[in-house]
C-alpha cells in the first residue's frame, strides 16, 4: 500500500500519545505495517508532545520536515508551530480550542487569535479541517475524550486506510467501561464533523 506519514502534536495531558498508539493498534489489526514513535519525558509537565504514525512500506519511525501527509493538531497554536512538517498537499486536522501556555500569562509573548492561526495554516497546506474538539467532548459528557474526537475526525477525513470498525474495536478494548460509551460517541461525532467537510475540501 501507499505509505502514509502522520504527525500528532499536542500539549501534555491532551492524550495525543494514546491517540497515535490506538491508531497504530487498529492499523496493525488490519495487517497494515505500522511504526509509531513518541517523545516521552516531559509529557506530564505541560510541554509539547509529539508523536508520529507511519503506515505502509516504511521502516523509519519519524517524519522529517515537509514530509507529513497528515498533521493532527490538538491545539491551534501548536498546530501552527508544527507547520514545518507540512508540504503544499498536507491535510491538517486541528482542534480550535486554545490552550495558552503559562508564558503568556506572565507576559512573555502573545497568543495569536484562533482565526489568525487557522488562516496561517490553511493558506499553505492542501486542506484544513478545523473543529472544536473540546466542545464536542464536553457535549458527549466526557471532557477527556478530545483524543477520540480527533481520531474520529482523522478517520472521517478518509486520509488513512484504517476502517472505523477496526478503530472502534481497539478503542473498546482499551477504554474503561465507564468511559466507553462517551468515547465511542466522541469518535463518531469527530467522524461526522470531518465527513461533512470532505466534499467541500
Amino acid at each position: 500500500m501507499e505509505t502514509k506519514r502522520l504527525v500528532f502534536i499536542g500539549v501534555g495531558g491532551q492524550g495525543n500519545l494514546l491517540a497515535s498508539r490506538l491508531l497504530g493498534e487498529a492499523a496493525l489489526s488490519m495487517g497494515i505495517h505500522t511504526v509509531v514513535s513518541e517523545i516521552h519525558g516531559m509529557a506530564q509537565r505541560g510541554g509539547i508532545v509529539e508523536s508520529a504514525v507511519l503506515l505502509g512500506d516504511v521502516s523509519s519511525p519519524i517524519v522529517s520536515g515537509g514530509e507529513a501527509d497528515v498533521l493532527v493538531g490538538f491545539e491551534p497554536v501548536e498546530t501552527m508551530r508544527a507547520l514545518g512538517k507540512c508540504n503544499k498537499d498536507t491535510l491538517v486536522i486541528t482542534n480550535t480550542h486554545p490552550l495558552p501556555p503559562f508564558t503568556v500569562a506572565i507576559g512573555q509573548g502573545d497568543y495569536p487569535t484562533v482565526e489568525e492561526s487557522l488562516e496561517a495554516i490553511s493558506s499553505r497546506v492542501g486542506r484544513l479541517i478545523a473543529l472544536d474538539g473540546n466542545r464536542i467532548a464536553r457535549e458527549v459528557g466526557n471532557p477527556l475524550a478530545l483524543n477520540m474526537v480527533m481520531l474520529g475526525a482523522l478517520l472521517g477525513s478518509g486520509a488513512v486506510p484504517v476502517e472505523p470498525d477496526a478503530m472502534k474495536k481497539v478503542i473498546s478494548s482499551s477504554t474503561k467501561k465507564a468511559f466507553l460509551e462517551s468515547n465511542l460517541k466522541a469518535f463518531d461525532r469527530g467522524m461526522e464533523e470531518a465527513t461533512g467537510t470532505r466534499a467541500a475540501g
Binding site: 516521552h40 519519524i62 497568543y111
Partner: protein, 616 residues
C-alpha cells in the same frame, strides 16, 4: 496478567521498544533484574516491576546504576540469567564495576541495556556509549526495530553465557520509544536459585589475579569477534557498486532512502547489528566489492574510524566517508530526509522530495516550555528559599523535575552537571566564592549520589545549605520507589530509610524538616539556616501530587478561586509562582479549578487575601 506474559508464540503485538526488550528477556528466562530508572530506559524496569509482582522474577530498583550492576553481578557470577537497565549517563556511574566485571566475566547470562540519547531529549549530554564497548572489551548489540529489540535481548543471554561475558545492548531514545509489531516467541522457564562456586583466582580481582584475567578477557574478545563474524545481525543486503554502512535507527533511514532514491540495484548495505567487535572479514569483503562507501551513524564516527583502519591495514584503497557529508554531523539524531540528502549528495543522485511549506508568515509564537505541575511542592520550596536568599545566592541544582527551577520566574538553577553534583559542587562554590550557596537535590537523587557529597561537606567543614526536595518518589522518570519511600501503597514490601535519620547520622547538626505548603514556617526554617555557621540541611517534605493521586495518597482539598471583589490585580501570584492552573482572561487572573489541587500557596502570598477555596 501482564500483557508481556502472554503465552502465545507466533502472536503479533504492538509493543513499545522498551517493552519488546522486557519481553525478550522473559523469553530467555530472565530470573533477576535490577536498574536505576532513567529516560529513555525507564519503561523496561517498569515492566519487570509489575511482572515481579505476578511471578518469581526477582526485580529491584537499586540505589544507583553502580549498585544495580554490582547486585546484578552477584547474581550473574552465581549463574542466574540477569538483566540490568540504565540510561547512557547511568553507565558512567556503573563504569567502575563494568570495567572489572569484564575481567571476571559471568556464569549466567548478564545483559546490560544501555539507552543513549542523541539530541538530548531528556539528558545532560549526548555521549556515544559505543565507546564503552571498546573501553571495556565487551560485546555490543544494536537493534534497529522493535522485533530486533526483543530477539536480540533473548539471544544476548545465550551469547553472554557462551562467551562468559556481560553483553551490552545499545538502544537510543528513538528506538526505545517506538511502537512496532513484534511476533512473540516461547516464554522460557526461570531458574531463580543457584549455588555460587567459589573460585578466588577468577573472581577476586587483586593484581596477581587480574593480570591473568586481562589475558582471559582478550581471549574471550577473540571469541566474540568470531561470534560477530558468524552473526546474522551483521549482514550485507543488496547488490551494487556503492556501499552504505549503517547501525541502529540509521539503518531504517538508509533502507527507506535507498528505496525512495530508486537505488536498490546500485547500493549494497552493510548492516552492523553485532557492532562490537566488528565482523572484520565481513567488513573487508564488503569494502573490496564496492567503489565508495558512506558510513551513516548517529553521534561519533566509531564505525567510520574502525572501517578506515581496517581498509588501511588490508590495503584496500576505497573512499570511506561519513561525518561531514551533507549534514551527517556528530551532533543530534538523524532523520529520514537528512539521510536521504546525504546519500543523494555523496553518490551524486538527484532527488526532489516534498518541500516543507514556507513558514515565514507564522508570527513569533509564545514558548511552551515544560513547567512544574499545578500544586508541585517544589514551587513552594523555591518560593520560600528565594524570599530569604534572593537572587545573588548561588543555587547549584541537580537532576529531576526540580531542574525546571531553571526557568523564569523561579530562575533558581545555576549549575548542574550530573546526579549528585549539587551537593559536592556546593562545597566548591562555598569555598571559592564570597557568595551564599543553597543547593537543591531531590530525594531519589540524594540517595543515588548525594550522600557521599554530604559526608564530604560535613567532614571538610563546608558552609552552605542543602535543600532535599523530598516528594516521596522518583517523579521525573515515572514515580519509581527509592530507599526513602513507603512502598506499601505500591504493593511491595521494602524497608524505608528515614532521610532525617540518615542526614543526622552523617553528622549534620542543623537539620530542618519542613512542609513547604506551610509557607511561613518554611521561610522561618530557611532563615535559620542563613544564621548557621556550618552545613545546614532542609528536608522539604510533600508528595508529588501526581504520585499521590496515582497511589491513593492524595489529601482531599478544595481547589481555589479568585475573589474578584478583593483582587486588586497585583498579579504577585502569577508573576512569582507561574502555576499552570492560573491564567489571564479579560485582563484578570483566574484559576482553572480542574487543574488546581488546592495547595493554597498562592492564597498565602496574595497581598489582598483574594484567593479563597471554592465553596460547593
Amino acid at each position: 496478567m501482564h500483557k508481556l506474559l502472554t503465552d502465545s508464540p507466533g502472536k503479533e503485538m504492538l509493543l513499545l521498544g522498551n517493552e519488546a526488550i522486557a519481553r525478550g528477556a522473559l523469553e530467555a528466562g530472565v530470573a533477576f533484574a535490577t536498574c536505576y530508572p532513567g529516560t529513555p530506559s525507564s519503561e523496561i524496569p517498569e515492566q519487570f516491576f509489575r511482572i515481579s509482582q505476578e511471578t518469581d522474577l526477582y526485580f529491584e530498583y537499586s540505589t544507583n546504576e553502580k549498585v544495580a550492576l554490582e547486585v546484578a553481578a552477584g547474581a550473574a557470577v552465581s549463574g542466574l540469567r540477569t538483566i540490568v537497565t540504565m540510561k547512557h549517563v547511568g553507565l558512567n556511574v556503573a563504569a567502575d564495576p563494568l570495567m572489572t566485571l569484564a575481567y571476571t566475566g559471568v556464569k549466567g547470562g548478564l545483559v546490560i541495556i544501555n539507552a543513549d540519547d542523541p539530541s538530548l531529549f531528556s539528558s545532560q549530554n549526548e555521549q556515544d556509549n559505543r565507546y564503552y564497548a571498546r573501553l571495556s572489551g565487551l560485546p555490543m548489540l544494536e537493534p534497529t526495530n522493535t522485533q530486533e529489540m526483543k530477539d536480540m535481548t533473548a539471544r544476548a543471554f545465550v551469547l553472554s553465557e557462551s562467551l562468559e561475558l556481560p553483553v551490552i545492548i545499545r538502544t537510543t531514545t528513538r528506538l526505545a520509544h517506538i511502537r512496532g509489531a513484534v511476533t512473540l516467541g516461547d516464554l522460557a522457564p526461570r531458574k531463580t536459585r543457584t549455588h555460587f562456586q567459589k573460585n578466588p583466582f577468577h573472581f577476586v580481582c587483586v593484581p596477581a589475579v587480574s593480570r591473568n584475567l586481562h589475558k582471559v578477557l582478550l581471549e574471550r574478545g577473540a571469541k566474540a569477534a568470531k561470534a560477530s563474524e558468524d552473526s546474522d545481525y551483521n549482514r550485507v543486503e543488496g547488490e551494487g557498486p556503492w556501499g552504505i554502512v549503517a547501525n541502529g535507527v540509521s539503518y531504517d533511514y538508509v533502507k527507506d532512502a535507498v528505496a525512495d532514491l530508486g537505488l536498490s540495484d546500485r547500493v549494497r548495505i552493510l548492516k552492523l547489528g553485532f557492532s562490537h567487535p566488528l565482523p572484520r572479514e565481513l567488513c573487508l569483503g564488503f569494502l573490496k566489492e564496492v567503489e565508495k562507501v558512506l558510513v551513516v551513524e548517529e553521534l561519533e564516527p566509531v564505525n567510520e574510524t574502525e572501517l578506515r583502519a581496517m581498509a588501511q591495514e588490508a590495503r584496500i584503497d576505497v573512499p570511506i566517508q561519513g561525518k561531514g557529508v551533507a549534514g551527517l554531523s556528530r551532533l543530534y539524531e538523524y532523520d529520514p530526509a537528512l539521510v536521504r540528502k546525504a546519500i543523494s549528495s555523496y553518490f551524486d543522485v538527484p532527488y526532489q522530495g516534498p518541500e516543507p511549506v514556507d513558514t515565514s508568515h507564522v508570527p513569533e509564537l509564545p514558548g511552551r516550555p515544560p513547567n512544574l505541575c499545578a500544586g508541585c511542592p517544589h514551587r513552594a520550596t523555591y518560593y520560600a528559599v528565594k524570599e530569604v536568599y534572593g537572587q545573588e545566592t548561588i543555587y547549584p541544582t541537580d537532576i529531576g523535575c526540580y531542574t525546571l527551577g531553571l526557568l523564569p520566574p523561579i530562575s533558581m538553577a545555576d549549575f548542574v552537571i550530573c546526579m549528585g553534583s549539587s551537593v559536592s559542587s556546593g562545597c566548591g562554590f562555598s569555598r571559592a566564592t564570597d557568595q551564599k550557596v543553597v543547593s537543591f537535590i531531590g530525594d531519589s537523587t540524594f540517595f543515588h549520589s548525594g550522600i557521599t557529597g554530604l559526608v564530604n561537606a560535613v567532614h571538610n567543614n563546608h558552609k552552605f545549605t542543602l535543600v532535599i526536595l523530598d516528594n516521596g518518589t522518583t517523579a521525573m522518570t515515572g514515580h519509581q520507589p527509592h530507599p526513602g519511600v513507603d512502598t506499601a501503597p505500591m504493593g511491595v514490601d521494602r524497608t524505608r530509610i528515614s532521610l532525617e535519620n540518615l542526614v543526622r547520622g552523617l553528622g549534620v547538626k542543623d537539620v530542618h524538616v519542613v512542609k513547604p505548603f506551610k509557607l511561613k514556617k518554611t521561610i522561618e526554617a530557611v532563615r535559620a539556616t542563613q544564621e548557621y555557621d556550618g552545613i545546614s540541611v532542609i528536608i522539604s517534605q510533600e508528595f508529588c501530587p501526581l504520585f499521590a493521586k496515582a497511589t491513593g495518597q492524595a489529601r482531599k482539598t478544595k481547589p481555589f478561586r479568585i475573589n474578584e471583589a478583593k483582587c486588586k490585580d497585583h498579579r504577585v501570584c502569577i508573576q512569582k509562582l507561574a502555576c499552570p492552573a492560573m491564567f489571564v482572561e479579560g485582563e484578570r487572573v483566574k484559576i482553572d479549578r480542574n487543574l488546581c489541587i488546592g495547595c493554597s500557596v498562592c492564597a498565602q502570598i496574595c497581598p489582598e487575601n483574594a484567593i479563597v477555596p471554592v465553596k460547593d
